[in-house]
């Protein structure tokens, strides 16, 4: 957790005043604020103590000034819908913690998160500073609880737990998808009844709610969103009905056929998480997958979040910026695509970040130019106000095999 209680913070301040008190000003940057302020040219952003304390202040006094020379400053990009930190090598069972046969509504995989995973610095190469990690559950339609991490690689990088309840409402491998609606609505109805009954009963006699009940209550109160993985247009409409019936805060994920019901999704004010590169009819539920979908949904007024495609997953999280570029090439607006990898994700999952404004968490990326373009380099990266390197073991391997040595390469470190 990045939150410090007062006594801890005071202690830390006493121990290393310089780290915490230092202010950094990034000057002369092209700042994509992701707020109503839009894009600011030649702007200054001041960060202190992990937070953006000023954007374009009247006068700048900082311990450290970085002249951006007109380069592009964006909020850190936010990954989502992957198992970052829960998987090192997909085919190595002992390095996988994203699912469990017994996983259900209250499955919280965050204690298994490994901030020292080699995937994390690799993700930083793409300017990813936070990630919404999702479990992939077990046999039930309830995959478990999403949680949020930063990509600092530090042991305190889990920022938020119980961020969303993830459910799988896509076609069943066996049996009928209709059964999924029965399972979902029965659970929600039962909890609704318990809550109604609990109000009538004497509080002293009330049984302590189970973890599962706590999650369901939060879902019914709209305190945490439900992320429904769903593809087919008719299924999307069914899930929207469930949202309406129970007053859920809903997020749709996958939704290759969302374009067929884009107006209904927009009207329900439900955000969608899609891949910008998914464009094949991989099943009868996704016959309308297309590169143009992100732009079409955006124009219909749907809040679009971009996440990596299947093989990009946690390992190649860094590609998110290129996916955003592909979305733009096929009709999404530039600022819309930038929002889709920053502020839209932060807003949907209630994260601190995704915007450049006073009071926001200082997750920032300084790019040599357009962050979506292949030729653009990531020049500097800040996570929670700290400048972080993007070096990973991949760089070590490359260096080892491209550096001449008289000794076997095993001695090159």
């Amino acid at each position: 957790m990045k939150k410090f209680n007062v006594s801890l913070l005071t202690g830390a301040l006493l121990a290393s005043t310089s780290v915490f008190a230092q202010t950094t000003a990034i000057t002369n940057a092209t700042v994509h604020t992701m707020t109503e302020a839009g894009v600011l040219e030649g702007a200054t952003v001041v960060i202190e103590n992990g937070t953006i304390t000023a954007v374009n202040p009247g006068n700048v006094s900082a311990d450290k000034t970085i002249d951006a020379q007109g380069r592009v400053l964006t909020p850190g990009f936010i990954g989502s819908m992957n198992q970052l930190g829960l998987v090192e090598v997909s085919a190595v069972a002992g390095s996988r913690d994203g699912g469990d046969d017994k996983a259900g509504i209250d499955f919280d995989a965050s204690p298994a998160f490994n901030p020292r995973s080699s995937l994390i610095p690799y993700g930083r190469k793409g300017g990813i500073t936070q990630n919404v990690v999702i479990p992939h559950g077990g046999k039930s339609i309830f995959e478990g609880l999403a949680f949020v991490v930063d990509l600092s690689g530090e042991f305190n990088s889990v920022l938020k737990t119980s961020t969303a309840l993830v459910i799988d409402m896509d076609a069943s491998g066996s049996g009928s998808r209709a059964m999924k609606y029965k399972t979902l609505t029965e659970k929600l109805e039962a909890q609704q009844e318990k809550l109604a009954k609990g109000k009538k009963d004497d509080k002293k006699d009330a049984k302590k709610p189970s973890r599962e009940e706590l999650v369901l209550t939060a879902v019914l109160k709209g305190e945490i969103p439900v992320v429904a993985e769903v593809e087919r247009a008719s299924d999307i409409l069914e899930v929207l009905k469930v949202k309406e019936q129970f007053g859920l805060k809903l997020v749709l994920w996958g939704v290759n056929d969302a374009v067929l019901v884009k107006d209904e999704i927009a009207k329900a004010k439900v955000p969608v998480v899609i891949s910008a590169v998914s464009n094949l009819p991989s099943s009868f539920s996704s016959l309308h997958a297309a590169l143009t979908n992100a732009g079409k949904l955006e124009r219909a007024g749907v809040k679009v979040l971009l996440s990596g495609f299947a093989f990009e997953g946690a390992h190649n999280l860094y590609q998110l910026r290129f996916d955003a570029g592909i979305a733009v090439a096929h009709g999404m607006s530039y600022e819309g695509a930038l929002k889709a990898v920053t502020s839209n994700i932060a807003e949907t999952f209630g994260l601190d970040g995704g915007k450049i404004a006073s009071g926001q968490r200082a997750d920032l990326v300084l790019w040599s130019a357009d962050p979506f373009e292949f030729s653009t380099t990531l020049d500097k990266l800040w996570i929670n106000g700290e400048e972080v390197s993007t070096e990973s073991r991949h760089d070590k391997l490359r260096e080892r095999y491209t550096t001449d040595s008289d000794m076997p390469r095993a001695y090159t470190k």
Binding site: A91, S278, L280, P281, L287
Partner: protein, 460 residues
């Protein structure tokens, strides 16, 4: 080597085969038809097209500015500035880029098509570790919508491979990316067959789990060696038969074995090896294996660790067909470096290829190459567009044995050409027009040239 001098064969025949000799007239000679499912491909049209003022990446290391390209009779007829030629259609390509048609050496389109439903899983004959008798062309569903998506990304030629579950997965087929109701209608005339082999984790996982060899990597090697030893005997038996027949004797033909026909084709140098092989030490052993039995080890596919043995691959004339950045999905894919292709490419006489193995990234091999070029340049390389385009054109053609026919913008070659709306190494780039043998097969701005699979027709 399994080659024998004729005199030695005749001597051998006189003792070994004498019992089989019929004194009468020779029976009809038994020959093996090497092309029983021949290509029926025909170019879609024969009109001429003049593309003017383009930035041309030749595929062989050159970048030509303000250049015209004339496509005529299915061939690249002229390349140069201010061509005076007349053509049926002239395209002003000012600001646009022209490249050879993009070639993917590693695809499963048609064999693992979309939708990926149960009855479409036709890519892996997971029944025995050696299934060299299967030909993936017999699995290809030409209506796979992925062919159309790939064409929209500039893919004009692609090799379809069987999967990697088996030590010997079967024969590959090289296709022209044209819409056709039959596989034969897409088959690339004259392209050699390939044989898919697989190293490492996949075969041992698939069979070891069933209590069948191979259970280990040493079991993998034993499996290859046993197969090549058997194939060598088969080849020898046929050569003895042919020699005896040529000597006027009347020998019985060896028993035909479809599996061994394919392996013999490799030993005869007619079929190229395409070897799924990730790790440095395994690639080195596969090279020795090929020397042990007298064939060439061909192209290493996936080669996550190719950068560790880049010199060895170049010395031995192997192509390495690689991803830019896939990694971590299994142990043998853990040591990825995103500069892998660039490191392999930097060695003299190398053959670095960027492949997809994906129905998604096949649509953007130009982007895959762009990622590598830029990442490598940040690490100190100085690669340019004209260098990187080779990985998805000329070098890919070389891997497939068709580099004399396609894979570069050069007079006399097949007119397989892509016009891009801008520098194809930009994330915003899109293929605008695609030509195969000079015929327009895709136009982003004209629905008439946008093919739709039967499967997608009328879906709503």
């Amino acid at each position: 080597m399994q080659k024998f001098k004729p005199t030695a064969i005749v001597l051998a025949l006189s003792t070994v085969l004498l019992g089989c000799q019929d004194k009468g007239p020779q029976k009809e000679k038994v020959t093996i038809e090497k092309n029983p499912y021949p290509s029926t491909y025909q170019p879609l049209s024969k009109g001429s097209t003049l593309i003017t003022n383009a930035t041309v990446l030749t595929g062989t290391g050159e970048r030509l500015e303000e250049t015209d390209v004339l496509l005529k009779d299915g061939k690249i007829s002229q390349v140069g500035q201010d061509l005076s030629a007349q053509a049926d259609v002239t395209i002003d390509a000012q600001g646009k880029w022209v490249t050879p048609g993009i070639i993917d050496v590693h695809s499963h389109l048609g064999a693992y098509p979309n939708p990926s439903v149960e009855s479409h899983a036709d890519g892996n004959e997971i029944t025995k570790p050696n299934t060299a008798q299967v030909w993936v062309e017999h699995s290809v569903w030409p209506q796979d919508p992925g062919f159309n998506r790939a064409r929209e990304g500039g893919i004009t030629t692609l090799q379809i491979l069987p999967g990697s579950a088996n030590l010997f997965g079967g024969r590959s087929v090289t296709l022209k990316n044209v819409p056709s109701p039959t596989m034969q209608g897409m088959k690339f005339p004259g392209a050699p067959y390939g044989l898919k082999m697989a190293c490492g984790e996949n075969p041992k996982r698939v069979y070891g789990g069933k209590g069948v060899a191979p259970y280990t990597r040493m079991g993998n090697m034993a499996g290859y060696r046993a197969a090549w030893a058997e194939a060598s005997e088969y080849k020898q038996a046929w050569e003895q038969y042919e020699a005896a027949y040529a000597a006027g004797l009347n020998p019985d033909a060896p028993k035909r074995d479809i599996r061994l026909d394919t392996l013999r084709g490799v030993l005869d140098g007619e079929i190229l090896i395409h070897n799924h092989c990730y790790k440095a030490e395994e690639m080195a052993m596969m090279i020795d294996l090929s020397k042990e039995f007298g064939y060439h080890s061909g192209t290493f596919h996936h080669g996550i660790e190719a950068y560790k043995v880049a010199d060895l691959l170049a010395e031995n004339g192997n192509c390495a067909a690689l991803w830019p950045d896939w990694w971590g999905f299994k142990m043998e894919a853990y040591d990825m470096v995103p500069e892998n292709v660039a490191i392999v490419d930097a060695v003299k006489n190398s053959c670095a290829v960027v492949h997809s193995d994906s129905d998604t990234t096949i649509q953007r091999l130009n982007h895959e190459a762009a990622k590598i070029m830029n990442t490598a340049n940040q690490a100190g390389f100085s690669l340019k567009e004209q260098d990187a385009i080779k990985w998805i054109t000329y070098n890919a053609a070389k891997s497939l044995g068709i580099e004399e026919i396609t894979g570069s913008v050069k007079q006399g070659k097949q007119a397989d050409i892509v016009i891009w709306d801008r520098n194809p190494f930009s994330v915003y780039s899109k293929a605008e027009t695609v030509y195969i043998d000079g015929a327009k097969v895709y136009d982003r701005h004209d629905e008439k040239y946008q093919a739709v699979s039967d499967f997608m027709l009328g879906q709503r």
